[in-house]
Amino acid sequence: MKRFDYVRPATVTEAVAAAAQPGAVYLAAGTNLLDLMKGNVSRPDRLVDVTHLDGLDRIETLADGSLRIGALVSNADLAHDAEFARSYPAVAEALLSGASAQLRNAATVGGNLLQRTRCAYFYDTASRCNKREPGSGCDARDGENRGHAVLGWSESCIATHPSDFCVPLAALDAAVEIEGRGGRREIAFDDLHRLPGDTPERDTVLEPGDLIVAVRLPPVARGFAAHARYLKVRERTSYAFAVVSAAAALRIEDGKIAEARLALGGVAAKPWRARGAEEVLRNVAPTADAFQEAARRALEGAKPSGDNAFKIELTRRIVMRALTLATAGTPARIPALPASPFAATSGALHV
């Protein structure tokens, strides 16, 4: 690991000024950053430790009914907040399907959003990677790429975004509060992460010094609580990143879908909001035929970036399954194996 300077700012303003310097990065729990630094994938000159800043670890309901989640709230504290899990069950299920209990206890909301891809060529400093070393090339294109992107990828990068948490946040129209050199601003969650294009080294639209201070869920997001699921295919039963995943949330009135939300994980460099599929599901009965058409629309434009054509059909099926489970209703308690397609609502067998 390269040696770095350590800075512990007393205020958000100080933090932004310190992190705006070239070579500086924010440190929250460090569960992804330290791993990257140990592998020399990330080589920051300066760590700006935000974990001691006041006021960023609260979950609060605002006057307009939206929920504001401080960037330093841990993944575990958020998922286990009973009111949160009741109001946004797909988000809680996604959180609990990610990483391990130890990592969820440490990892923060802001850090989860800004975690880097788990593309093996990004991690392997002996490989060419345009995300790690702009202009060097992409060894994933002709490498082991069965897990790579099928939507929104470019010739320069086929990596996927690894977060589970981000998938239902995209579906539920979350917003991101950012403190930057120009003061406070907010952006739609769907605008935070970028597709690679010719500049895959930039995962997000954040500028130097920008600090995510909170994530907000709008009041209407609570309206999906009765029919909301996150579903995730993994290559082992637990503690694994998604091969593909889907967050499905429905508002069902009089036997029809009044409004649908759908986002996909593991398929692109960002959580993939499937608005075309949502349109298909508006004001129709929740039937297998409707779900099949929604799945088709959700994967419109998908193409393999390597040995991963199977992910396109797999994602369609996960979409159909997630919509079917969401229609059946949010389980009273998150299943023993959160987000597992192998789980009955009451439990699942580890295999």
């Binding site: 040696r3 770095f4 300077d5 206890n105 194996l337």
Partner: protein
Amino acid sequence: MNHSISLTVNGARRDFVLDDPRVTLLDLLRERLHLTGTKKGCDRGQCGACTILVDGKRINSCLALAISHDGADILTIEGLARGDQLHPVQAAFIAHDGFQCGFCTPGQIMSAIGMIKEAQAGDDPERIRECMSGNLCRCGAYAGIVDAVRDAQGQMDESNQRRSA
């Protein structure tokens, strides 16, 4: 630049001067305090052998910078027994053969204690397996580990009920 931090480790306050900010809690425990019960397995947050409790919560100490945890209260495997009297989770791992080579065991035990405090799994073996999935055991002693965790949790629940009765 040197940085001074203080931690409470197994109940005792310890002060450190760090001449290098790169040291993790894991390396601090092992190299500076010679508390080698906390194991360095993968050193990348994948195996759970380095699990400790920080402010009552289980985390991977390999992915935690010591300098960032100034003031933290740390519990390691060495802080569990009272003289010859083992912690209920330690005793249950012995009673149920919850290990073979023993390398992952301190991490398993600290993780189990954290899990029991979190109170999310109840007595459901599937939930226990899921809640313990951050701890790998290359000997494959998982069946004994789940039995040990269930047994210890039951004993601790009973003893809590007796105390509050």
